[in-house]
């Protein structure tokens, strides 16, 4: 497989989505309440970093599938850095580069792709950066 660079679709991140995730998984004031967010280190109500990671993985998986690369799931993250907050009504997308492929994976009948993924907002500013491994189904032998 040749090394590929792909752009994902874009997903909007409205207030309700931020608050719904935060209530369930990250109920800290700056992810729940606009005023608390404004007074926090982030300067506004913003999405949990874990929500950003989950959306980024959805977006990169869908980008791979659209390119006919049979994405199964993410299996590890060597490194992830949160660069800036995702505020209410920002939208995010992923630019990804497939770095290499190996014929082993923790998921049976899969190969591993190592992926460099930059999560960008609507101003093309970097929100997060991930170096991740994903499982892709091996070609079917029929």
């Amino acid at each position: 497989m040749t090394v590929k660079s792909l752009n994902s679709a874009t997903i909007p991140v409205p207030a309700q989505t931020i608050i719904d995730f935060a209530r369930q998984f990250d109920p800290q004031p700056y992810h729940l309440d606009p005023e608390a967010g404004a007074n926090s280190i982030f300067g506004g109500l913003c999405a949990s970093g874990w929500q950003v990671a989950a959306y980024a993985t959805r977006l990169l998986g869908e980008a791979l599938l659209q390119a006919n690369i049979p994405f199964v799931d993410i299996t590890s993250v060597d490194h992830m850095r949160w660069k800036r907050p995702t505020f209410v009504d920002d939208s995010i997308r992923v630019e990804l580069h497939v770095l290499d492929r190996c014929t082993d994976s923790p998921i049976p009948q899969c190969d591993t792709l190592r992926i460099d993924a930059r999560v960008l907002n609507q101003a093309d500013a970097e929100v997060a950066h991930l170096m991740a491994s994903v499982a892709v189904a091996k070609a079917q032998v029929s």
Partner: protein, 161 residues
């Protein structure tokens, strides 16, 4: 004296400190609800499709397992840092490394989440915050490790004494 994380300053958090944040039992419903938003593919959202799929049943998507770590940590801090309303409870995460999902998590599985401080950086962020690195793990009810990662979290440095 309550020796727990966010009612103490950066300087007071010792390398080697270990906490069990708590346990959570994953239900089929919450797994499907999470997947509908973050992994909307039949093998994660449809129990029947999942039964015929590669795991022989529904499994939690990886970030669901990890997001629940965050919830366990926040709950734990709420109990132990009660009444603390200054910077000592406002640390944000800056980055993660060596995150691995090791085994499938199925409906009814109970994960127990642990935290250990493994290092402290000399770096000072915005003249105010230090960085605490911890190793975090989740174990299922059989004692098998299902997830591990390291995370760097900001902790406010104490005012000059």
């Amino acid at each position: 004296m309550s020796l727990v994380l966010r009612n103490r300053w950066f300087e007071d958090l010792p390398v080697g400190e270990f906490h069990v944040f708590g346990s959570h039992t994953f239900s089929e419903l919450e797994m499907v609800e999470f997947a509908r938003e973050y992994a909307p593919r039949p093998e994660f959202t449809d129990p029947e499709a999942a039964r015929q799929g590669r795991w022989g049943g529904l499994v939690a998507t990886p970030w669901h397992v990890t997001a629940m770590w965050m919830r366990m940590m926040v709950n734990y801090m709420e109990v132990y840092a009660q009444g603390v309303n200054d910077g000592r409870r406002n640390g944000a995460g800056v980055g993660v490394q060596q995150l691995k999902w090791l085994e499938p998590v199925r409906p009814g599985h109970t994960l127990t989440y642990t935290y250990e401080i493994i290092s402290k950086s000399d770096k000072v962020v915005r003249d105010r915050w230090g960085i605490i690195r911890s190793r975090n793990e989740a174990f299922n009810q059989y004692g098998n490790k299902v997830m591990t990662f390291e995370i760097d979290i900001l902790a406010e440095r104490g005012a000059a004494q």
